[in-house]
Symmetry: C2
Subunit: 219 residues, 2 copies
């Protein structure tokens, strides 16, 4: 059966998954790029951005695993774009250009209906207005036997964690402190939600941690 995973989710030492003051110029928030330093050197990121080379090794392995092989993705609206409120016909089709890195049905949580947007490379953005369980049900139907990725942002991941719907979460803990922003872990009791650490692979740019939820222990 397909599993629901969070993958390649970068946080600071103090738990922040995005810096403060997200904007069009800084979609990750101020200093957000520092969280993702581990990925920029990888072969995966080089390929994705049309560059030659890139590193192999632990960061590369986690980057691959965080993006490849999923049958569907679920994103919060802010991951898709900076606009708020009812959708307007502004031509926006996400941060990623014509060929987004998803290559699968990608469900966007929103309060405002919108028709699906088919993109190149197999990505289709599908807008879901009736909540996280509905989005997951639709993603399961689309994914078949493949896993489903909860892509973020912080608020979306927290909602799925608190609902007991996440089976595995890979965090990349960056060696920085942010002090402000959206905190992924604040007030979450991960052991009480059934999670324990099953992998721990530190690198120069991040400490990779995989948390797995015990079978039969939903929230």
């Amino acid at each position: 059966m397909s599993r629901v995973r969070v993958g390649g989710f970068s946080i600071s030492l103090d738990g922040f998954g995005a810096g403060p003051a997200q904007s069009l110029d800084a979609p990750l928030g101020q200093r957000g790029r520092e969280l993702h330093q581990w990925i920029f050197g990888t072969r995966f990121f080089h390929q994705m951005t049309g560059q030659a080379g890139g590193s192999d090794g632990v960061d590369q392995a986690y980057a691959e695993r965080a993006m490849r092989g999923f049958g569907a993705f679920i994103l919060g609206r802010n991951m898709f774009g900076p606009s708020r409120g009812p959708w307007v016909d502004d031509g926006w089709t996400g941060w990623w250009g014509d060929d987004p890195p998803y290559h699968a049905p990608t469900f966007i949580l929103t309060h405002h209906p919108r028709d699906p947007i088919p993109m190149a490379g197999g990505t289709t953005f599908i807008f879901v207005t009736d909540g996280i369980q509905s989005a997951l049900d639709q993603a399961r139907a689309a994914a078949g036997d493949l896993d489903i990725k909860i892509g973020g942002g912080v608020s979306t991941v927290r909602q799925y964690l608190q609902a007991g719907l996440v089976d595995e979460m890979h965090l990349a803990v960056a060696p920085v402190v942010l002090g402000q922003g959206e905190n992924l872990l604040a007030g979450l009791d991960l052991p009480a939600l059934g999670f324990h650490v099953t992998e721990h692979h530190p690198t120069a740019d991040a400490t990779h941690i995989v948390l797995t939820r015990d079978a039969g222990r939903p929230a």
Copy 2:
């Protein structure tokens, strides 16, 4: 001039510096030992506990640096013992036996006066009832040119951090989640307090992080 440092302070991935339910049997709280796994294998810890051998390497270097060479220590009362309220003559002289690992004047923050307790090996426990600044002033006078260590627990470290009195903090982030307990980082904006990460050395059992406060940037 001597510096004020936090050293060898172990926290979980979710920021907890001690597990819940601290007791005489579990002075670190439930699961607290998991936080400190990095230290138990070191040569430093083997020496401290009268065992032969122990590892060299990164964990050992940070263990040494976390305990050796200080001219004075400051501890919260709960670090000294499990009792609460006015001191009673129960013969308690700390968790550590006759020869505590401090080997220097060690100031205990308390609301209840008590005469100093001289111990073997150069440790003297001195009880301070007039607050963290007074304890630091006394520690500075005692330490001379040597550094002063804020030994813990969580509440004591947070008070010194928030008052802008800590120059350097070494954290050992253990690959575990606790979910409950005393959170070291919750609600603290370390960058706003002038801190940034100046060292990052991951090992199999912990990610060692040193945060340094910019000169001239007290809180």
